[in-house]
Symmetry: C2
């Protein structure tokens, strides 16, 4: 499977500003990208990073600083119906089995929804289908096929994008990759307070 991984190389993950400075957010974004690319390769996918700025990677990189949906739709138009997966670069919980399940699910369009109505990962086999990641993109994509219905993939791992502070504990609970190592090296750790999971930085509780 050809797998497009869009990557914001400039100032990624601004919703994590309450907890991380710009340099830390960049490190975290890059670690998440590395984890996603490893999982894609382990799932026998061929990753192709679609970055907003040049980036050194072992896999092919296309630079396109257009808005996300436009950049992805340019790729889809070029591929004219050749099966293409789109996997977001912040799916730090992605694993080979989760992605294999996505790749092998049949249908003209297969959607893995994310929290808050986003579309975290998808496979497009329908030549005329175009993406729109703005707003409640999962619902929009559900209605975006001219004939037939998109298929939804029910995956917690692909449904969990790391976007805001409350998402960070998920990395500690479900992953042991580069993302978790990066968070640990920044000083974060998981704790269980009053029966609920919390996140600490050094000795201070930062979540919730």
């Amino acid at each position: 499977m050809h797998v497009v991984v869009p990557y914001e190389a400039g100032s990624p993950k601004t919703r994590l500003e309450p907890l991380l400075d710009a340099g830390e957010r960049s490190r975290l974004a890059r670690a998440m990208l590395d984890d996603v690319l490893s999982a894609v390769e382990a799932a026998d996918g061929s990753p192709h990073v679609l970055a907003t700025a040049p980036l050194e990677l072992e896999c092919p990189v296309t630079v396109d600083d257009s808005p996300l949906s436009k950049a992805v739709n340019t790729v889809l138009a070029e591929r004219s119906g050749e099966p293409t997966a789109i996997v977001m670069a912040d799916l730090a919980l992605a694993t080979a089995p989760a992605l294999e399940r996505l790749f092998r699910t049949a249908g003209p369009v297969v959607l893995a929804p994310g929290r808050g109505g986003g579309t975290n990962a998808m496979v497009v086999r329908e030549p005329t289908f175009r993406v729109d990641f703005h707003g409640c993109s999962y619902r929009d994509h559900l209605q975006g096929l001219s004939t037939g219905e998109p298929t939804t993939l029910d995956s917690y791992r692909l449904g969990t994008d790391i976007d805001e502070p409350a998402d960070l504990p998920e990395v500690f609970i479900h992953s042991d990759g580069a993302t978790r190592e990066t968070l640990e090296s920044i000083g974060f750790s998981l704790a269980v307070g009053e029966g609920r999971v919390t996140l600490e930085r050094g000795d201070s509780q930062v979540i919730p």
Copy 2:
């Protein structure tokens, strides 16, 4: 599959206090229970509600006002290794296919983790296994088998429990059951603001 559904009948869903008064929280909890029971039955499961207080339902109800883990472990001890599923009553996004996938996944213990390290649904076939829902229960349950390893089920629908305000939009995006009807009748609706999903009550934005 015999399916235990624990239900807090007293003052449920206290973490929704910022948005809902006690009566509304009770209505919502009951609607979620109804949706879960419907999904269990559609998945060919036999639901058995384990409630903290008497409750009128068409399926069998056992009243036990012990803490959650103790009440569930009493049931597990009684069933002495007969396959038993435990499905939380606030999984408003549960569907028959998601539950069928849970029920047919092989293994002595099968866990569907929830956001924040909870265990939202599980199947227990190992006679000596006992639950502990306090803290990061998913990690504790992963380590709770004397031999072998529990299996994890990767499901967004079972991973999404409706616990706090930020969870409510998920009901509108992924469900059309009694829970959504109840939220609509209370006055909630979904909106898309600045490219992100928000929740409104009447004309006021309440999330985020």
